[in-house]
Symmetry: C3
């Protein structure tokens, strides 16, 4: 049985296939309107995320399927101390596919070990959010017609921005892609990611000005810069307006550039930009529904005749049970899930040990 926990669970070919299906649904929605008749999606949102949830629900309804679920932990049994494992063991008997969001990193992996049905990770803390990346890719393909040869500006918090990191990883696979990395110094792309770009021969350029390279961009991907991420209040006051996109700053951009944003925004794009035909972020949210439709179809199809029993998750890789070791990431699911064993994986190449669940480095 297939799950989607991380974008790396999909090959490049599979992503291509999903994008092609999504575009076919966009162009011929009627063909698909009964594709999931009598199937049930459980939308299990252990923390609220309205847009993501509604996108999944609308996707399932658009395929003729049905939806149940909960919207935050307060209205779920977790309030009574129930583990993710137990919740999934039960709810996977009530649905054909599960989309789950959870504040703890690795929670969907735990879920995948206890489910009778496919799990889609709809965001686990700062860890993975693969359907956002898929929506971004569909947007680029639909709006630009290609992935190759694009110059992509990413702006904002490039240090902690999960969305941006995933997009960079995904786009690095295509030929001729080049990144302009626009951020305050405090929030620059982590060096380990830059080394990865170097290793893969992907050209990039770091700068602190949103306008400087505006004219070269095919895509400008905006993200939020949070006040508390700056070194000091003075630094924040000095820089805050530099990373707000408005019509003035957009003046230098090419006519066919597109502006993307994972939404919700707070103030990092002035609403006056919304009227600009290059503003693409609401279309991006719109496309998100269609890639989720394609994904639901794929996972339900591949579930096929698989026996309705959980995968009892012994990982496929070599496991190093560092005896007594405990994951130090406070956001890791191992910190809250009762009865979950600590597991670490050692990378045979560099000897690094990482938590099996949240993938953070063991100390």
């Amino acid at each position: 049985m297939r799950h989607l926990l991380s974008i790396l669970d999909l090959t490049v070919e599979e992503i291509e296939e999903l994008l092609t299906t999504a575009e076919d649904i966009l162009d011929h929605p009627d063909k698909y309107q009964d594709a999931c008749r009598n199937k049930i999606l459980a939308a299990l949102f252990f923390e609220p995320s309205t847009r993501t949830r509604l996108s999944f629900e609308s996707a399932m309804l658009g395929l003729g399927g049905r939806v149940l679920g909960f919207h935050d932990a307060a209205s779920s049994s977790t309030r009574k101390g129930e583990s993710v494992a137990d919740t999934i063991s039960i709810v996977s008997g009530y649905a054909d596919i599960i989309a789950m969001r959870h504040p703890k990193e690795g929670a969907p992996l735990v879920a995948s070990q206890h489910t009778r049905v496919p799990i889609i990770n709809a965001g686990d803390g700062g860890h993975h959010h693969p359907t956002q990346t898929l929506a971004d890719l569909l947007t680029i393909r639909r709006e630009m017609g290609r992935f190759d040869g694009l110059t992509i500006g990413v702006c904002g918090d490039l240090k902690f921005g999960r969305t941006v990191h995933s997009l960079m990883e995904a786009m690095s696979r295509y030929k001729g892609v080049r990144f302009i990395l626009i951020s305050p110094k405090e929030l620059a792309v982590p060096s380990v990611m830059l080394e990865e770009l170097d290793r893969n021969g992907v050209p990039y350029l770091e700068c602190q000005s949103l306008e400087e390279h505006m004219g070269e961009l095919d895509i400008l991907y905006m993200t939020r810069v949070q006040r508390e991420r700056f070194a000091s209040e003075e630094e924040y006051q000095r820089l805050k307006d530099s990373y707000i996109l408005d019509s003035d700053k957009l003046r230098g951009a090419g006519e066919r550039m597109i502006v993307m944003h994972p939404l919700p925004r707070v103030n990092e794009i002035d609403p006056q930009v919304d009227e600009d035909p290059r503003a693409c972020y609401f279309r991006q949210a719109f496309y998100g529904r269609y890639i989720r439709m394609a994904l639901i179809l794929k996972l339900l199809r591949e579930r096929g005749e698989a026996p309705a029993t959980p995968d009892k998750g012994h990982p496929a890789y070599p496991v190093n049970q560092l005896p007594g070791a405990v994951c130090k990431n406070p956001h890791c699911i191992t910190t809250t899930e009762q009865g979950l064993k600590q597991i670490f994986l050692r990378n045979p190449e560099n000897g690094e040990c990482r938590c099996f669940y949240c993938e953070s480095k063991a100390e």
Copy 2:
């Protein structure tokens, strides 16, 4: 594309047509059970209102459609500071029609400027609640068989009662209608509304006793009187029981009179009255479902082949951008919605300026 923001968005003929459709659905529900197959209603309740929400959801399900949404702002992205405009820009890509309730007055008007699909106002603060008025009209037509020549008693808080004001406006259009306005002096109908009745030649009579004119009424429309609306605690203690309907007070009423109430009630109608065949308020709630079915059908039909792009709301009337003026109504959507320009409209007849969004007078 048509929206329903205020009852005034509908002509008398359109209201008649809606009532006729609603009665046809009441009499032949099976004919309509697939009328909205594959259509999605988004029920966006930025504040809770269970009965109204369930009425809309039941209406859509009864037409064979599907429903998604949220029930209060706490579980929506507005918690993260997202504007109404952005929420609607996104969600209107996930649904075919939107019913929204919002605590801020004018929020549905803002929504109508950013949506791809029809907006139904399911209540915006103390401003409009047009489907309640439609439900009231359907109740009167269904129970009385006519609108003309009715004597209508309205009782309770007539000063702030949005529901009562709308009903009075709507019923004033019919011949021979007469109002008995029953309230404590502090909560009498505002003089501007009485002048309107005078201008339209609608007879009315103000009194403070619920029983005095009971025998003359065709309809008794009850509303709640809130303690905090009284001038003093003594005044409240002296008067509170006068506006509670019980079997005793009902004794003087005609046999065919009906008692209406928008619900929920607290204590303004004694539960013993529920058994009386004249008690019509639960049937009134029941009819609410059917008028909403008729409305959803109408708006989806009229959306028809309209291009799926938002109306970028420059109002059709002459706009006076009183420079620097700011709406003083603390419940106006302009007080919270980021990036929303203040707009005032000047009435060419009397020179009065009103906020475009909440319609309160500029000072």
Copy 3:
């Protein structure tokens, strides 16, 4: 019109029929997938209970029906002080069947007096939870193939455990059933229940050790023991581990014994037991969906051509209106429901008076 308020509303024959239907749905789900097409279930959860709610919703969706409702009182009109009677009067106009959970005992009985449609009690405080008992019975029939001649161990809080009491009552009707009652002394089965077993000639044995009779059991029904139920902290510390089932304690059990639990569990079954084929509690939750499908089908069928008017609940038994008497149970619906008259029923056999709503003894 039939409701299901307590398991005693069903005859043994009706329970048999429900179990047979549930097994048929389990074996041939496709046959039933449109059985409730165009029907609406209202899931009215005045307090949260995710698993029970999702089980009902999944049941209705699996029958081709639709679902609406609310998940806790905070998002319902009860926040505005609306009575159960009014909520049901309104919502029963929006749905074809209602499943309700309410913290107050007797609330579903009040609902049944004001509804147009069948009411299913999905739990009212510590009072009744008949669909849990039905799920337990289906589990036993499905897993053991019979009810007769079973030795059933029930372990944990046998004093307050509503689930366990219902199961004992239901199983006492079958031949050759025998109970092993395993609990700390403080939490032993109430003597009134033991007398009932004696009267019906059902053999039982009380003990304090989970392991002592393990080898004799066909079924081990585990429940939670709450810390605050113990006489003292020392007592709790001394005994707590005795009532936690783990692989060690399971060693003495027969190979075909099954372990049941109403879930959610906290720590009373060690997760290592989940892998044991005798662990039956997740299958038990799974079966819960199917018995609810059978129940919804039965009640909708029996509603049949019944007129759509509420039963105005004058009870069928002789009523003794103990004048001035007030129910002393703080969890009784009479303590909160506005306008609800106190009613007590006198048992002609022993002269005992009990509250009509919560069935607790009048003092």
